[in-house]
């Protein structure tokens, strides 16, 4: 497939934006401004970016507890995201959801999720809805290697397969299920082998190569749009930070992250591609970097200035009229 400069530049910017947002959010958390838990996406940017680049705004996704990257790549407004993370009334969920529960149906985001693996059944149901309504929309479930051991994975993939639903199951294999290394939580190395158990196509791709991610996703999305049914796409990556902010990471050595940061960083690799193909100069990239920095700074300011929700919000939105 011929990638356009424009497409790759767009993906580079998205990855840079995610990285900047996450580093800033992490700093805010460490500074005591963020209640609750936060799970950083740093190092995994190519997955969210490449995957969402193959989707339309009206396609659906379910995200995870580590979902900021997914949401930004799907078109989320960093101001409204930052406000939600800080618990402000101007956030996507009026401050009632927080980092793990950000949602925006108008962008096809059926929610980040605090329960590992919980997004898959919802995504399968949404895929059914797309098919029932005779639209060509597709539904994507984001989840990790850890979640692939949950019953939700098996039930959802099986249901999607037998009903031939336009559902893509995207496994971000970052080598850990929470604080447990993959080799201790499953016997297999490639989660994609499980696809055979449901008679759907499965593929493993370098999750830190944004072009490879995009191309693989685009193939499965096109297939699903044309009635070809579900697929399992495994993207291998590494998370630079702990499971959650504050995780002492006793289960791994800091030295393990070094080769990923130095040789396999998704943003650096994309920069290399852009520079090699002369689709951008270093000055262009620097300018983009400054741009996203300003965008995130604006988001932080917006979030900080925003009010918390009033007491009347406690009792609203439990039930619909």
């Amino acid at each position: 497939m011929e990638m356009s400069a424009e497409k790759v530049l767009g993906m580079y910017r998205t990855m840079a934006l995610i990285r900047e947002f996450e580093e800033r959010a992490e700093a805010l958390f460490l500074g005591g401004e963020v209640p609750g838990f936060m799970h950083m996406y740093i190092g995994e940017e190519a997955i969210a970016t490449g995957v969402m680049a193959a989707l339309r705004t009206d396609d659906l996704i379910t995200s995870t507890h580590r979902g900021h990257g997914h949401l930004i790549a799907k078109g989320g407004d960093v101001k409204l995201m930052m406000a939600e993370i800080l618990g402000k009334s101007t956030g996507y969920c009026k401050g009632k959801g927080g980092s793990m529960h950000i949602a925006e149906p108008d962008l096809g985001i059926l929610g980040a999720n605090g329960i590992v693996g919980a997004g898959m059944p919802i995504a399968a149901g949404a895929a059914f809805g797309c098919k029932y309504l005779k639209s060509d929309r597709v539904s994507v479930a984001m989840f990790g290697d850890g979640a692939s051991n949950r019953g939700t994975f098996h039930e959802s993939l099986n249901l999607a397969a037998v009903l031939c639903l336009p559902a893509i199951f995207v496994c971000e294999n970052n080598g850990f299920g929470e604080g447990t290394r993959q080799c201790f939580h499953q016997k297999i190395t490639d989660v994609s082998v499980r696809a055979a158990g449901y008679d759907v196509p499965g593929r493993t791709v370098d999750g830190n190569d944004v072009v490879a991610v995009y191309e693989a996703m685009d193939e499965f999305v096109t297939r699903a749009r044309n009635g070809g049914g579900p697929a399992l796409l495994e993207l291998k990556t590494w998370r630079y930070r702990g499971h959650y902010v504050g995780d002492a990471e006793y289960y791994r050595e800091a030295s393990e992250t070094v080769p990923w940061m130095e040789e396999r960083d998704p943003i650096n690799r994309c920069a290399e591609l852009l520079l090699t193909k002369k689709w951008a100069t270093q000055a262009d990239l620097d300018r983009m970097g400054a741009d996203v920095k300003a965008e995130v700074e604006e988001a932080v300011e917006f979030a900080r200035k925003s009010p918390f929700p009033g007491p009347e919000e406690l009792m609203t939105d439990v039930l619909a009229d």
């Binding site: 401050g95 529960h101 929610g111 029932y132």
Partner: protein, 326 residues
Amino acid sequence: MDMGVKTMSYREAILDGLTLEMKRDSKVFMAGEDVGIHGGPLGISVWKEFGAERVFDTPISEMAIMGLGMGAAALGLRPVVEIMFIDFIGCCGDEIVNQAAKMRYMFGGKVSLPMTVLTTSGAGIGAAAQHSQSLEAWLAHVPGLKTVMPSTPADAKGLLVSAIRDNNPVFFVQNKTLYDQKGDVPEGEYLVPLGKADIRREGDDITLVAWSGMVQRCLAAADLLAEEGIKAEVIDLRSIVPLDKEAVLASVAKTHRLVIVQEAPRTCGFASEIAAIVADEGFDLLDAPVRRVTAPDTPIPFTPSLETLYLPDAERIKAEVVALLA
């Protein structure tokens, strides 16, 4: 327009309501285990009329079944998904408690999930401990869900239609011992609102509150009590959440004594909640403690002799009332 009334069974009334809604609204579809060509283990299937596109079988996958309902509902459809026996909600606990019940609130009101979950409860047919429970208390304890439990054919139809039209997750809990019970059911479009109890029998001496399978036993107990000159008022809650507490309090204002009958185990059953509400908001109305006639804190035994002992019956209800009035 004056619609007629037809005598039909509880099962037929449910099928009538389901058919009505599926004809009226193309967004309604039904999915679950054996709801298609099998015809449903308890006969609840409209597959023949609507075909496999709108009524279809799922694998034995309660998590995926609930996900099907949630995902489709999030897109604006009105799924009717079935969890065959309420005892199986443990298989999809997260989907019910952490997802369906909470998505709207966590998302700041951005989604609504207009889904109906059809399920069955009730002991009495020897189905044993894992197929006979009444778990409405579990559901009632989770904000964000509605639960209805009809005891008559008319209420079954009317509540099902209302449940399907409701824009929230509604658990429509059928009683498996009532399917062949007959009653008068209004023809055509007929709705029973959620959150409204029904006074099945009027009386001044004591209030009996029940739902689902226990309503008939309360009515039988009321007959026995009438022979002794005691006039019992029987309230069928019909709707667990939302609860018509006003109906209960209004009755207690009249009778000053309350006995609640539930076929679920005693501890933390829904009767406990009603008792707490009346003790709080109706304390001055009471001339006696609030009593609960319940099943014991045991799993449901298989053998008929013990199962019969397990369930509150008319004699036990009567004895409790008599003791209260003594």
